[in-house]
Amino acid sequence: MYWNILKRDIKRKKTMNVILLLFTILAAVFVASGLNNVVTVMNGTDYFFEKAGIKDYVLFTQNGDGGVEQILKTSGCVKDYSMEKCIWGTNGDITYQGEKLKVKNNTLLIQSLDTTQFHYFLEDNQELTEIADGEIYITAGSFARNDMHVGDTIRIQMKNTDKTFRVAGEIKDALLGSDLMGNTRFLLSENDFKAYEADKSLEPYLGRIFQVETDDTGTLSAELASATNILFSSERATIRLSYVMDMILAMLVLVLSICLIIVSFVILKFVITFSIREEFREIGVMKAIGIRNAKIRRLYIVKYLAMAIVGGIVGFFVSIPFGNLLIASVSKKMVLGNEGGYLFNAIGVLAVIGLMVGFAYLCTGKVRKLTPVDAIRNGQTGERYHKKTIYRLSKSRARTPFYMALNDILSAPRRFITIVLPFFICSVFMLGVVMVTSTMQSKSMITCFGKESDIYITDPKMMKTVLVDKDQEPVLQENYQAIADELEAAGMPVDKVSMEVWYKYACEANGKLYSVLFQQNTETHTTDYTYEKGTPPQNAYEIAITPMIADQLGVEIGDTVTIDFGTEKRDCVVTALFQTMNQLGKVGRLHEEAPTSMKYSTTMPGFQVDFSDHPDEKEIRTRVKKIKELYGITGVFDAAGYCVDCMGVGDTMDTVCLLLLAITGIVVILVTVLMERSFISTEHGQIALLKAIGFSNRSIFWWHVIRFMLVAGFAEILAVVLTRPITKLWCDPIWAMMGATNVDYYFSPVRIILIYPGIVLAITWIAVSVTAFHIRRIRGTDIVNVE
């Protein structure tokens, strides 16, 4: 009997069943792939780091080891360490097909595979064990960025050494391969590397990479504070955080799948309620002949169980390639080992099936309310306790299709919630991601990286002089002056050229020693920056720190931290808390007069230029171009460009936005077709009546289209209005992971009010128009056949 009822139902409500099945498949696909991807990426970093041989603490130096090796040898907390050599370079040193190599981050390094302690993996996850002389392997992502292929040639011309290599393949690099690190590594044979190492003129660029095995990274970090020439140092957990963007992408898929499940349930509720309402006669008759509620409910639940199982099975198989596609960008650079295999896909699918059937059981509770009398009274009880119509045609100035559309919505708003909810849920999530992307691509995040300036010059060619000639502070000032003079000569009046210099100092707080990175710009004032809490440092011995550093040191505003500046050891008062995404939020800020020495500098993000004529954004963009041409460099940005460069994920987020738009489009089409078909079905009699009394197809068509567009428009307006608060809810914790505790979201009116909702509404318009053509099939004479 169940099979017969199922067969009849499938035949009678073909469109509705197909759409519900599609939603089930979509929900299963997204939950299964989202769950699997989150587990894969979360475990993936650990698995990859283990395979790649990354130890507890890693640090890079340049121009010798700066005393690091001596500290490691004598430190009591170091169990073991390894050291390997590298040579630092920029993309200006490397030529591919006659042009500069395109790279993500312009600090590159060349190394020998033979002496490295790390393990590198090829595209098929096999370990790279040997490199022949004259061959080179490059960090994954370079092939796509440069349209490079195996067998092509690359020329590395550094000072007096010039060699050409045959490209042998790409490598998966655990330490530098993430979006946030993004440094390109070139692996050579030992002989080839020695040729560069032997070049005396390259000595200042010769670096060391140390890997340390320790149980106490805090103490080690503090001990290393006295070492110089450290470019970068970090514990394993922080390096792991550099894959946060990949984690975020996997999380977005999971959040999206939750949205789709909610949408599926809204649709499921509508379809079940609609089916039961339409079958009042059958249900009434079944009750009249004594069939129990539970048995009638079982009839319906069997259908939804069958649908959930079919949708789940299809969803499981689709989720495998779909999930792989979503993490393709991650798996290209990581060796992902999910030991659960497709177990998580299966768990996700089973969860969807269970939820659907449980929900169907709840929704079929309506069966209890129907009585045999409903079968007699055509499903109408005749009871009405409230007045329906509030908008009167006799008082309206609108045309009839518009009037009828608006009147339907105002008369029975609850009926349209099924449309509003899916549209709202998908749109608010999509617009949230669009807002996050716009924020990342705007200058509103500039305070997370430093002070806002007109132009930022980060090109390594410009930075090199400053970086290598350490211990000569006047060089930095001379650079400022030289750049200012050159820009003035090119017609760009300069007010100030400055630079944030990062220093690593040992700090003592609450009796414990820590190593903390500090930023200082001697040309600006600490009062020029934004603080979350407290007052800006007023003198050389006042500091501001991030909440993360405050937690680490166990201090608050007003507490004292002892900083060993190298030249002197002073107690400094914490006067303010600020947010930054530099070093994932683990930094402090020094007063411009603090007794720093370039000897302890670790890195410099770039020159900041402020013009005295306060140019507008258009003029700044023109000047960016001019400066690029003037110095023959590429790393010149305005404030927004600098933010994108710092985060390095602008393009990926754009792709995510488009993916979400596509998914929203699919949901919108499915919901629109389903709802409009059900409207036409329930309003068959009214449409026939209108046709009989002389309404044209056109008028009836517009009635339906306008009604749908009004509801969809309302949902979009609601989504636009609530985008900011809802995005703050789900995105603020993600920013906090990266160090930004109070992000000022950039609301791009063109993208958030016009483009994305506009596209959603255009898709709705097309879907509802095509579906509303079914109205043509209804004839005026149908009025006599309508029950």
Binding site: R384, K388, Y403, A688, G694
Partner: protein
């Protein structure tokens, strides 16, 4: 009086499972302006099919239907819809109305939709109210459609059919779903409209209803078997009129 409707050799055939069903066979008749014609016949004789075919709601298989001098077969669907909206009125057995509109708004709907009607909105509202007053339902103007009786609802349907000043009013079993008292109310209303000049063509199987018409066409197996003209004697009682029609129908095998 000129003919408002001329039907010549009208045929309507349905094909179901490759079997032909000739519902109407060479039907010929005319309706003059100001006439009130009833079509009677047993169930399945083709009464409703005839009504829908001559009103342009259904497409005849062959033959011609001239409405106000125009062959409706030559009109497009859009033109036909305009003719139905501006020049015809319809009353159905079931009192269909738009669910979310009040009685007055339902009546007004065709007037507001009409582009030919040059009256102002206020004039249209005033006319709808006048019609309601005439048919004694003005007190339910602001009611929802489920807040009135069947008789009131059918009279509201009559008002809706009249709101655009139709040249011809088609009624399909207008009293079929009503009790005797409500039927009388509706027929009184239709009689009043006819006396004021509205041409009416209705399908009914109720001799009492048909006896209030000027002419009765009796249809059997898709062909018109006879035409009855009501006596012009105004002093004749309703019961006598009904008895005479009953006798005529019995002669035809009713």
């Amino acid at each position: 009086m000129a003919n408002i409707l001329e039907v010549k050799d009208l045929c309507k055939t349905y094909v179901i499972d490759k079997r032909q069903n000739n519902v109407l066979r060479n039907v010929n008749f005319e309706v003059e302006e100001g006439d009130m014609v009833a079509i009677m016949g047993p169930s399945g004789s083709g009464k409703s099919t005839l009504l829908y075919s001559v009103s342009g709601m259904d497409v005849p298989t062959s033959g011609t239907v001239c409405f106000a001098g125009r062959d409706i077969a030559k009109l497009s669907q859009t033109e036909l819809a305009k003719v139905r909206l501006d020049e015809m009125g319809f009353i159905f057995q079931q009192m269909y109305m738009m669910k979310n509109l009040t009685i007055l708004d339902n009546i007004l709907l065709p007037a507001m939709e009409s582009k030919k009607d040059e009256r102002s909105r206020a004039e249209k509202v005033a006319f709808a109210e006048e019609l309601m007053r005439k048919l004694s339902i003005i007190e339910v103007a602001d009611n929802d459609i489920n807040e009135v009786s069947g008789g009131q609802l059918q009279r509201a349907c009559i008002c809706r059919s009249m709101v655009n000043h139709p040249k011809l009013l088609f009624a399909d079993e207008p009293t079929g779903a009503l009790n005797r008292a409500a039927s009388t109310e509706v027929m009184d209303a239709l009689g009043k409209l006819n006396r004021e000049g509205t041409t009416i063509m209705m399908v009914t199987h109720d001799a009492k209803v048909a006896s209030r018409c000027k002419r009765v066409l009796y249809i059997l197996d898709g062909t018109i078997k006879g035409e009855y003209k009501a006596p012009e004697d105004e002093n004749l009682s309703d019961a006598d009129r009904e008895r005479r029609l009953q006798n005529w129908l019995l002669d035809l095998g009713w």
